[in-house]
Symmetry: C2
């Protein structure tokens, strides 16, 4: 296992120390339990927005803490749900009296632990609303999931919903927008290589020299099928078609198109995929009115990509365009 780490045990804390050192203008890190909190939180009268999940998907979620996105993030061990104590601490740290939204990716551990944290927060008098993302069209149930997995839409949802909270929307309204983004979004991913969880010390799965896995999960969970590697145009088609057919996206739609790298994929390849995706959408009469190309929800050093499409309307577009100031996403300031 070749990694720039000090020890498998230290990965999360060491990276958190780096985040804290690099981004003291935007966030602070509390330890025991580990949470990343926006500078200035809680903001009186503003809905708090938090998320969390296993580490290894960076910049998600800690890299999205800051103005116009998350108020706090809860990093678990690598590929392991954070514990309710973290979520409770984050909820309390960002509660400005207007309630707190929990953004939860649909994995059994995350859902269960966030549920417990919401109950604990309620017992302390904090109003909590929850949105569970489940945008991955690859498989219905999975290794760690009942129903569909929550993947790329989570990034876009955190941005859009963060903007709604920032402008002063109520908890009810923020939750409505969150559910809208999730219901308007679909994703699918693929891998060229496995990743290696530091504790495990060996690849999560094995792929042959000429194989790829279509529909891969962000922890390396099995996807739809393993097949021989194809060219970028064919791979993009294999990802885009199930996404487009599922919602379905239709001629005349405006979309936010997100081409995401899984951690080990160079940017030059992501732009090739984006180019192919743009052609496919154009053929279907779908307009990409906003886009995001980069590695934002990753699986350690896995090589591969995912595509997420969210159908936009004026409300979502305006919130997407609103200022954001986080380690990983910034514009409009």
């Amino acid at each position: 296992m070749k990694k720039l780490i000090n020890s498998p045990e230290g990965v999360v804390k060491d990276a958190l120390a780096g985040m804290a050192a690099a981004h003291a203008d935007l966030l602070r890190v509390d330890y025991d339990p580990d949470i990343i909190v926006r500078v200035g939180a809680p903001i009186k009268g503003k809905v708090g927005v938090i998320s969390g999940g296993g580490s290894g998907h960076e910049p998600m979620h800690g890299g999205f803490v800051g103005l116009g996105m998350l108020d706090a993030a809860c990093p678990g061990a690598v590929f392991t749900s954070p514990v309710p104590d973290q979520m409770l601490a984050a909820t309390k740290a960002v509660d400005g009296g207007a309630g707190v939204l929990h953004i939860v990716k649909n994995y059994t551990g995350d859902v269960m632990n966030f549920e417990m944290a919401a109950e604990l927060a309620a017992a302390e008098g904090i109003e909590v609303a929850v949105v569970v993302t489940n945008d991955d069209v690859a498989v219905q149930d999975s290794l760690y999931t009942a129903g569909r997995r929550g993947v790329g839409v989570t990034v876009l949802l955190e941005k859009i919903v963060g903007a709604a909270a920032e402008r002063g929307d109520s908890l009810l309204e923020v939750k409505r927008i969150a559910e809208k983004v999730n219901s308007h979004g679909r994703s699918m991913g693929m891998a060229l290589t496995s990743c290696t969880v530091p504790h495990a010390g060996k690849p999560t799965f094995e792929l042959g020299e000429n194989e790829m896995e279509i529909g891969i999960g962000i922890h390396g969970e099995p996807g739809r099928k393993r097949m021989d590697i194809q060219d970028a145009a064919s791979i993009t088609e294999l990802l885009a078609t199930p996404i487009l057919d599922d919602l379905p996206f239709q001629s005349g739609d405006q979309v936010l198109a997100f081409v995401n790298g899984l951690g080990g994929t160079p940017q030059i390849e992501l732009y090739i995929v984006y180019s192919e995706l743009a052609k496919i959408l154009e053929q279907r009469g779908i307009t990409i009115s906003r886009n995001l190309v980069g590695s934002y929800i990753t699986s350690l050093e896995m090589a591969g990509c995912s595509i997420t499409l969210v159908k936009l309307d004026d409300e979502l577009t305006q919130l997407w365009d609103a200022p954001v100031q986080t380690p990983a996403l910034r514009w409009g300031m």
Copy 2:
């Protein structure tokens, strides 16, 4: 070879098509010769700033085209210098009458071709100034270089100098600042794995299961030494010490610290390296007053990192903080 590409021949053009499709608000792509040009260029009375080099280092340089950074970029074939025709076309596309600065990394092919382009531009009446970056302390001469290689400082220089040009500085002044950034900056990198050039179809070099290469070049050129992999703290020390001793950086200095991923390195590892670097600098009484953590000058999917330090003063800090609006770097707008 596992890559998200259509063909080795198509990599650069296909990625350029993706850039053009994704970032039409910031840039356009011209083909034959291939150049990436800022929307609105040339800007009358503003010094034009261009750079270029082999592809495979993305987002450098195309991802830095936009307000407050580059006016144009010239992408060569993968790891191959662009040709003088591209540099000439870029120079003409951005000449607003105040002259054009060429930012050239110190590789023999790049230097030679930019020289030829500067002569051709001069023959057409365009005033050209040149800065050659050579910040890599790893080796004195190298596979493609007489003298030191130009690496990470190029990214920071393009940002800082782009800001100077944006505020209306003269060509002489812009060149002075460019030379100051280069002379204040030092870098060194290391690799855990090789990259694979698409045309070659196999890894550029071989590293054993437990080996790393310290002082690696961004094309996989040999570095200082090959050795057993160590922990992140030791690796950071191996990179930082030669950098610090070379300028030298001293107690009381303010620096811009840049921890860069080489393309296949997950962000969680970069933050671990950043944390170690912050400790080393603190021990030496050096203050990190600005930082950048991410993959900005890459070597395809190579796993590894580089560290760049630039000694800051008020002038450089102010230019670093100035607004920038490019695909890969944006803030302050």
